[in-house]
């Protein structure tokens, strides 16, 4: 039993997309859809500028709006707190896609709904999610949020600032963003890359 979570340090991320490509191939995500994407935020006037690359994916919410709307029980929460889709129960009705406020879910053309799993299959082998393992800026940390010694807990404690996307919705995401620039924070609008 763990409460898996991920922290992404925005002061380190350069938007290089290594995570997004690793995710595609690790999980055989088909062309045209994605589990992980990167948003670019720019603001200010030359030469007083701010810029932020923000990787986004399923936030593995503690109160996931996508689970109660599922008519078949395909969308479920595991004992480790992972929000997953049981493909064999999924009827691709799309209710969960409509319910997710973060746009994290998609139709897989093979006939089911899919999304980030925190690379559950790697976790069971004691490995990190593919995006965390490969990141060349070391901006991602992962682990058990209930374990104060886990890398992710330590990173969150050391951060100057911790944000989640759309906190007002009460979804309690377990993917958090560290060190967003002061006075800039997380903007919800932006140019997806």
């Amino acid at each position: 039993m763990a409460r898996y979570g991920m922290a992404i340090d925005l002061s380190a991320c350069v938007g290089c997309a290594a995570c997004a490509v690793a995710c595609k191939l690790e999980n055989e995500v088909p062309p045209g859809v994605s589990r992980l994407w990167i948003r670019l935020e720019e603001s200010g006037r030359f030469p007083e500028l701010h810029m932020q690359y923000r990787p986004e994916q399923c936030l593995q919410c503690e109160a996931p709006p996508c689970v109660p709307v599922c008519p078949t029980g395909a969308s479920h929460v595991t004992s480790d707190g992972l929000v997953l889709v049981d493909v064999e129960k999924c009827i691709a009705c799309g209710a969960c896609i409509a319910a997710c406020p973060y746009g994290a879910r998609y139709f897989d053309p093979r006939g089911f709904v899919s999304k980030c799993t925190f690379c559950e299959h790697r976790l069971s082998q004691g490995r990190l999610p593919a995006c965390v393992e490969t990141c060349p800026t070391l901006c991602r940390t992962f682990g058990d949020l209930d374990d104060p010694h886990s890398e992710v807990s330590q990173a969150i404690r050391a951060a100057e600032r911790v944000d989640v996307l759309k906190p007002e919705l009460g979804t309690r995401p377990k993917v958090v963003y560290l060190n967003a620039p002061a006075g800039f924070g997380l903007r919800s609008m932006g140019v997806p890359r």
Binding site: F46, L49, R110
Partner: protein, 780 residues
Amino acid sequence: MRMERRRFLKLSAASVGALMLAPAAGALRLPERLARAPKTWYQGDVSTVLTTCGNCFWACGVRAYVEGGRVWKVDGGEANPFSRGRLCARGQGSVAQTYDPDRLKRPLIRVEGSQRGDGRYREASWDEALGVVASGMLAIKDSYGSESVAFFGHGGGASWFGDYLAAAWATPNVGDPSAALCTSPRETASQWTFGRAIGGHEPVDWANADYVVLLGHHIGEDTHNSQLQDFSLARKRGAKLVVVDPRFSVAASKADRWLPIKPGTDTALLLAWLHVLVTENRYDAAYLAAHAVGLDELAAHVRPFSPEWAGPITDLDPADIRAVARELAAHAPRAVLPPGRHTVWYGNDTQRLRALFLVNALLGNYGVEGGFYLAQAPSVADYPHPDFPLVPASGGCSAAAERAAPSARVTAIRSITANHRQSVDTGRFFADTTAIQELIPAMITGEPYRIAGLIDYGTNLFHSIPDVARTKQALQALDLYVAIDVLPMDHVMWADVILPEATYLERYDDLLEIAHRSPVIELRQPAVEPMWDSKPGWWIARELGLRLGLERYFAWPDIESYLDTRLRAIGSSLEQAKGLGTLQQAGRPYLADWEKDGPSPFGTPSGKIELYSRTFADAGFDPLPRYEPPKEPPEGYYRLLYGRSPVHTFARTQNNWVLMEMHGGNAVWLNASEARRLGLRSGDYVWLENEQRVREGPVAVFATERLRFDCVYLVHGFGHRSPNMRIANGRGASDTALMSRYRLDPISGGAGMHVTFVRLVPGAPRPRLPRLARLARRKA
């Protein structure tokens, strides 16, 4: 429950046809039956192969996961100093190139009677294709001599051609784009300042640096894996970062201070920093007394170049200029100005890099923790072979050669070539590498002698060498043009014979020997068999050698025994290297290591760091760097600047579906105020037109605050015009296509490419392109 779900599906299925007509409901493609969880590669019997990435030239270690005879995924090699268990997007995406259905599959011979560039080919056997190449080369040798065949090469397997086959064949005309089209100025400047190369893996001691100044160095957009890791770790440690760039680059967005300099004025800024360090006595006098010559001349030279002088030139505040110089000094010797990589800008680039190295020298950081460490090449003997008639000097940024004593090396090359004509650029430049673009005129004019044949391995002739019209004219003038490549690139489809190479995941290469703080030897080994009828570079070179009567140089029966022999000579074996992937030798990274037991590490004529270069003075060049104002753009034109995408390698990866999903085309960046003045908005399509009326595009406008008003910016590598590369074709614009001229750096032979001016011509049509996802779904 089961019944209910089936019924639900049946009802839904009835409405599918109607739903499919509405595009908005396109996502509701319902399955005819319940989906079964697809079997994934990682549920199978997965084996791991350790090899070396080939999707750029940083040479990261790779763990390739193979299941069912196919590579599905790669991760970074853990015990490799360039990957440290991680990979960039290009490495992660490299698998998609192996299974690209557009790959060259079989040897091709240009249809008789067709012109180069018509793109009309017939398939041929390897035996026939290699026979045509060999007889063409032998005919040129009979008419003009072996030197009249040139070899261009870039990338993993290039050594088999440019270093090995060309040496056995006896031609010195071997060019690598990564020298004169990239690093020549910094290598030449470093050679004649420190007497050492920078080399392919910049020896910047990031782990100990506390203050870093980047000039036009796009770390973050340029994702050299361990360099990006080091950059990130240094910032995490609290190292201060200053970025000098006309564009708010990704690195600038991470900087403590961004200096949006006027393009082309960097040397003035560097001279002002030298001025502050000298006039305020902020240099490391003890270090310079021990290791350098020429301080008095330098001090006198930089006296006029104050920050107040540089301010109006660079469009920067003199107070900022002075502050950075003082901060540099305060952090010295743990303060460093890395040289950057693509250094061919304005044609006076060796002098700019000299100025940059002089600032570093005054900080006392060369060979010192937190500055530059001293990289050394590994020592690995050649496979025993008869002496080559000559040793070409293609060089390039990934060249392993440790050039501690350049003059000795150059002399050696010249003595070996005594029986042969020297390369057509010999004697013109200080670089000890060939200036690839200066070989092109000899193909057209026959001066100083004719180059009649070209064997091109992976050098994109139309996307790397400026003045494409001249290159095409040269190709038309050749007797023989052979392309060895993986994809039907624009320039490949001009060749007389096209030889399809295996991708890095399908082949052995020669050992990769990389200069580093602990010298690195890496193995590239196949994870899977080559697709279709493609072959590894070593096989192609060897088979050509046998047909050229050079069998005495190819005595090894197969590649495994070649590699095993080389590895056993250093106490290892192929078996061991296959299990480890990477071997490292002991190095001497700091001056203190050299002082204990060894000669001077500085391979300059004086054996010291040369602040003042007598050699340059004797050759008629400035012995100390001088600022030369760049030509200003004419009214209505902007200076064309260009850079990198973190997911692409030059023009090599634009047919890779997964990388193109991340970045599928470029836009022309234009300052937002300028865009308003021109009535252009982001997303509008324009043509780019240079002063010679060459047009490129259509390309979308990106109106942004992130760029100065006097330049436009393109990411390099897009704008392929090759219908056989279905994904790359027609997406974005090529910066190289607009470079009708370049400005030659007379010291290094580098081709300065920041000298193109373009205007934006509105009203271009939006290109109609097939959807990427549809193209990506095609099977290999």
